[in-house]
C-alpha cells in the first residue's frame, strides 16, 4: 500500500497514463510530442502557459528595464509609492520595483536545475529498480524510504545547518528530495512495461541492459515523466523560495523574491508592496506550472483512453 504515490498535486491515476502498446499497436515515434500537443488544446494549460510566460519574462527581462539598481538608496525606508518609485521603497530605502525586477532569475534557474537533476536521477533509479526486480530493487526502494521520511524542507535545513547557505547545496538537496518520489512513480509505471513482449524480445536478441532500460522502457513511460517534471517544478519553486524566505538562500544585499519577503515582512503594515509583489510572483508562478501539469496529466489520460477504444 505504501507503494502508492500520493503526494501529487495532480491526483489523476498515473497508471492510466502509460500508453498501452500491445502487440500490433503502432508505437508512436515521439509519444510525448502528442501529449504536449493535446495538452495545449486544454484551456487550463493555456492559462498556465500564459501566466508562466509573463512571470518568466518579468524575471528575465526585468533587470534590463529596472529604473534603479537593486542596491541603490532612493528614498527614506518604507516610503509609499511616488513618481520616482512606483511601488515605494523597502525597509532599507531601496526601490521595491527595481528589486522585484532583479529578484526573479535566481529562483527560476535554481528550481529548473533542481527539477532536472531530481527528475533525471529519479527516472534512472525507478527504471533500473523496475527492470532489475531483485536485491537491487530492494536496496534502491529501501534507500528511497529513508529520504522520503524527511519532509523536504527539513532535509534542506539539515543540509544548510551542516554545510552553510550555499546555492549549489540548496539545488542539490531539493533534487535529492525529489529523486525517490519520482523513482516510485517511474518504477510503478515501468513495472507494467517490463512485462511486455517487446522487452522480452529485446532480451532474447541480447540487447544490452542499459539499452533496454533507456531504449525500450523510457520511451514508454513518457507521460508520467512529463507529469513528474511539471509537478516537481511546482514543488521546487515553492521549496527554493521557502528556503530563501527563511533566510538561508541568497544572502543580502542580493535582490531575490524569497529574501525580499523576509526582509520586509515586519514592515508589512506600513509598506505592503515590498512583500506583496514577490509573494504574488511566486504564487502566480507555482499556480501556472501546476495548471500546465494538470493539462499534461489530462492529455496523457485522454491518449490512453483513445487507444483503448
Amino acid at each position: 500500500m505504501s507503494d502508492q504515490t500520493i503526494d501529487t498535486a495532480v491526483d489523476i491515476g498515473l497508471e492510466a497514463a502509460v500508453e498501452p502498446v500491445g502487440p500490433g499497436a503502432v508505437l508512436q515515434r515521439r509519444p510525448w510530442l502528442g501529449i504536449l500537443r493535446d495538452a495545449v488544446r486544454i484551456g487550463r494549460t493555456r492559462v498556465g502557459l500564459g501566466i508562466v510566460t509573463v512571470v518568466v519574462a518579468v524575471a528575465v527581462f526585468g533587470p534590463l528595464v529596472a529604473p534603479h539598481t537593486p542596491t541603490e538608496f532612493i528614498a527614506a525606508p518604507n516610503t509609499g509609492p511616488s513618481s520616482d518609485a512606483i511601488f515605494g521603497a523597502d525597509a532599507l530605502g531601496r526601490d521595491v520595483f527595481s528589486r522585484f525586477l532583479h529578484g526573479g532569475l535566481s529562483v527560476l534557474w535554481m528550481s529548473a536545475a533542481a527539477t532536472l537533476i531530481g527528475v533525471g536521477t529519479g527516472v534512472g533509479i525507478g527504471l533500473v529498480a523496475a527492470y532489475s526486480r531483485n536485491w537491487l530493487d530492494d536496496v534502491l526502494m529501501r534507500g528511497s524510504d529513508v529520504v522520503l521520511a524527511f519532509p523536504q524542507i527539513i532535509l534542506a535545513l539539515l543540509a544548510v545547518s551542516a554545510i552553510g547557505p550555499k546555492l549549489w547545496l540548496i539545488v542539490l538537496v531539493v533534487a535529492v528530495g525529489h529523486a525517490p518520489r519520482v523513482a516510485r512513480v517511474m518504477r510503478g509505471a515501468a513495472l507494467e512495461v517490463v512485462e511486455r513482449d517487446f522487452v522480452k524480445a529485446a532480451e532474447a536478441v541480447g540487447e544490452k541492459r542499459s539499452r533496454i532500460v533507456f531504449g525500450e522502457l523510457l520511451p514508454n513511460v513518457t507521460s508520467p515523466l512529463l507529469v513528474e517534471l511539471g509537478l516537481r517544478m511546482t514543488y521546487s519553486i515553492g521549496l527554493i523560495a521557502a528556503v530563501s524566505f527563511l533566510g538561508f538562500g541568497l544572502q543580502p544585499p542580493t535582490a531575490d523574491w524569497g529574501l525580499m519577503i523576509n526582509e520586509n515582512r515586519l514592515s508589512i503594515t506600513v509598506q505592503a508592496w515590498s512583500v506583496l509583489l514577490p509573494v504574488l510572483a511566486i504564487g502566480l508562478l507555482t499556480v501556472g506550472t501546476n495548471l500546465i501539469t494538470d493539462g499534461i496529466a489530462r492529455a496523457a489520460i485522454g491518449i490512453g483512453r483513445k487507444a483503448e477504444r
Binding site: 500520493i6 522520503l148 524527511f150 539539515l158 551542516a162 552553510g164 515553492g238 508589512i268
Partner: protein, 317 residues
C-alpha cells in the same frame, strides 16, 4: 493480519535507524572542526574544548554515534550550543505549542476535506465541481508561506484586522491559553492540506459511485443518504486515509515555514533559529522528531488501511 502489521513495524524501525544515521552524519559534515564550526571563529578555546567534550568529538565516530543515539533514546538530547540550556528544556514548551497547532489544523482539515470531496463527487462535472476543482488546484500549487502571508495581508493588516499578524505569547504561557494566536497559522495549514485530501476523496468517491454495489443499493431503493454514507464513503475513504496521513506527516515540515511566518513559538520556529546559529544539537533533535513523526504517521496509515480493507484484514491470518 498480525503478520502484515509486524512486517510494517519492523520496516518502520529499520527506516528510523537509517534516518538516525543521516541526522547524525550532519555533524560529521560540518566543515573543519565541528566545535569551531558551531561556535564561530571568535569562540574562546575553553568553550570550544567544552563543546568538543560535550559532542564527544575526541572519541571514535562509532562511539560518538552510540553516545548520541543512547541519549536520544533515553530522552536526553544534549545541550544547546547557543543558549547552554538542555535541548529538552528548550523545546519542552514549544513542543506543546506545535502539537496544539497541528492538532487544531488536522481536526478541522480532515473532516472538512472528506466532506468536500464527497460533495464534489456528488456534483461531478457540474459547474460547482469545476470551480471547486480549479480552486483546489490553485491552493495545492501555492507554497505555504504564500498562503500564510496572504492571510496576514487579508485578516491581520490591510483589509480586516481580526487576528494578530504575529503569534506572540507572554512568557510561560501556552498557545491554548490564547486561541487567537493559533487561528491564522492553523488556517494556513488547513488551506495547504485540504486540496490534496479532498481531491483524492473526490476521485475515489466517484469510482465507488460507479461500482455495481452502489447501483445495487440504489436499485434496492435505499435513500441516497444511506447509499452515500453507509455504502460509498466507507469504501472510498481508504485512499483518503493514506493521503491524510501523508499530509499530517507533511505538516511536520510545513509547520516550520508557517511558524516562522507568524513567529509562532513552536519547534519549527526554533529549528529555523537553530539552523541560523548552527546549533546542531537542536537541529538534530527537531529533524529526528520530524522524521519520526513521518514514519509513525505512515505506519498508522498502513495499519489503518489493513484494518479497514476486508481483503487485507483476513489475508495472512
Amino acid at each position: 493480519m498480525s503478520k502484515l502489521i509486524w512486517r510494517r513495524l519492523a520496516l518502520g524501525l529499520l527506516t528510523l535507524w537509517l534516518i538516525s544515521l543521516v541526522v547524525f552524519a550532519a555533524v560529521l559534515a560540518l566543515p573543519g572542526d565541528a566545535a569551531t564550526a558551531i561556535l564561530g571563529k571568535e569562540a574562546t578555546p575553553d568553550r570550544v574544548a567544552a563543546l568538543r567534550d560535550q559532542l564527544h568529538l575526541e572519541d571514535s565516530v562509532v562511539s560518538q554515534y552510540l553516545q548520541w543515539i543512547g541519549g536520544v533514546l533515553s530522552g536526553s538530547f544534549g545541550t544547546s550550543a547557543a543558549t547552554q540550556q538542555p535541548v529538552s528544556e528548550l523545546l519542552a514548551d514549544r513542543v506543546g505549542n506545535t502539537l496544539f497547532l497541528v492538532f487544531v489544523a488536522s481536526i478541522v482539515a480532515i473532516p472538512l476535506s472528506i466532506a468536500l470531496g464527497v460533495w464534489m463527487a456528488m456534483r461531478r462535472d457540474r459547474p460547482v465541481d469545476h470551480v471547486a476543482s480549479t480552486v483546489t488546484l490553485v491552493l495545492a500549487a501555492l507554497p505555504e508561506f504564500v498562503i500564510g502571508i496572504g492571510l496576514v495581508l487579508l485578516f491581520a493588516t490591510s483589509v480586516f484586522q481580526w487576528f494578530p499578524a504575529v503569534s506572540l505569547l507572554p512568557p510561560g504561557e501556552q498557545a491554548w491559553e490564547h486561541p487567537e494566536v493559533v487561528v491564522l497559522p492553523a488556517a494556513t495549514l488547513i488551506l495547504a492540506v485540504t486540496p490534496y485530501i479532498s481531491r483524492i476523496m473526490r476521485g475515489s468517491t466517484i469510482e465507488v459511485l460507479e461500482s455495481e454495489y452502489v447501483t445495487m443499493a440504489r436499485l434496492k431503493g435505499l435513500p441516497e443518504r444511506t447509499v452515500i454514507w453507509r455504502h460509498a464513503v466507507p469504501n472510498a475513504i481508504v485512499p483518503a486515509i493514506q493521503v491524510a496521513a501523508l499530509q499530517l506527516a507533511w505538516m511536520a515540515g510545513g509547520v516550520v515555514v508557517v511558524e516562522y511566518v507568524f513567529s509562532y513559538p513552536g519547534i519549527g520556529a526554533a529549528l529555523v533559529d537553530a539552523v541560523a546559529n548552527r546549533d546542531m544539537p537542536v537541529v538534530q533533535t527537531v529533524t529526528m522528531l520530524a522524521a519520526a513523526v513521518y514514519v509513525v504517521m505512515n505506519l498508522i496509515a498502513d495499519i489503518a488501511t489493513i484494518m479497514v480493507t476486508p481483503k487485507l484484514r483476513t489475508a495472512a491470518r
